[in-house]
Amino acid sequence: MLAVLLTGCWRDKDFAVEPAQEAPALEATRSSGTTFRLSALRGKVVILSFGYTACPDVCPTTLSRLNNLQRRLGMLSQDLEVVFITVDPERDTERRLNDYVNVFNRRFTALRLEDEALTKLLTAYRVTATRRYPDSERYSNHAFTGEMPYTVDHTGGYFVIDRGGTLRLRIPYDTPLERLQESVEGLLQEEL
């Protein structure tokens, strides 16, 4: 077990956030009136990922991987929290966001921040999100229900926070599930 841990740590140099820093604050008030606070999850390992519900490929792939990861971790996953933050608050209502995330896993948390709160958070985590509108010419013949179908170019991957609240790893979105599991398991096996 120790050997596994050590190799895990060695190989995680690729993903390490240097210098290790306390995870930037994340708070979001929900319509129910409750407030989500990242700081309240001390003692657990937290994975943050950013995306949006109208995302056809990257976000579903990311969330289904996280669901698989949780399945593979078995009992260990009790100490793992997954948080998905929308970079598209304009289209992603809280309800739409929750419905979306629940399809992948009922234990995942979805958060919606707006305006300055979102900008501040994205800046702190060095995440970019830019709208990309399709060529309107090409859509002139299509009656879209409701919305102009823009996509959002955004920073992918997994931001992993350890039990002590330190942002430890940034894992690229296309990392194989086995590697992701190894890294997250390593943090789950650390003592607080």
Binding site: C55, P56, D57, V58, P149, D153
Partner: protein, 155 residues
């Protein structure tokens, strides 16, 4: 590409139907003389946001290059050819209105995180979705694409 569960494999196994039945699950070999352009392992993932992606492989066993030009589906208002491109860690969707080339004797893979077909305003159905692919040389190919559960890893 490991990590494929038995369930996914089950979905991807092509069901060879007895004669008389034209559409196979997710694959439609073209009835050309001998060598052909084949579509394999087609599967779709839809989300509650009514967008979706179709992944598949196109195998070109012929001696001339072909190109997937466009796709349409009666289950979606629009289907586009997209590719996820990563610049450092920022992921963007690039459209390919010019299509996906399929080299002679080669193949093109549409996979999660890579090239894929994006479906807009999808109406999901338990029977899968129908898809019409238009190839430059091969012409039109119609297939039925099984829908994979959203929480399944599709690699």
């Amino acid at each position: 590409m490991g990590g494929r569960g038995a369930r996914t494999l089950g979905v991807m196994l092509l069901v060879g139907l007895p004669g008389g039945c034209r559409t196979r699950e997710g694959a439609e070999p073209l009835r050309t003389s001998g060598a052909s352009v084949r579509v394999e392992r087609a599967r779709a993932r839809l989300t509650p946001a009514q967008v979706g992606a179709v992944y598949l492989s196109v195998v070109n066993a012929t001696e001339s290059a072909d190109r997937l030009l466009s796709a349409e589906s009666s289950s979606a208002t629009k289907v586009e050819l997209h590719e996820v491109v990563a610049r450092e860690d920022v992921l963007s969707m690039v459209m390919h209105p010019e299509g996906f080339p399929i080299p002679a004797g080669g193949r093109v893979e549409l996979v999660p995180g890579g090239k894929h077909l994006m479906l807009y305003n999808v109406r999901a159905s338990a029977d899968g979705i129908d898809l019409l692919l238009r190839f430059e040389k091969t012409g039109a190919v119609r297939l039925n694409v099984p829908v994979v559960a959203a929480d399944e890893d599709m690699r």
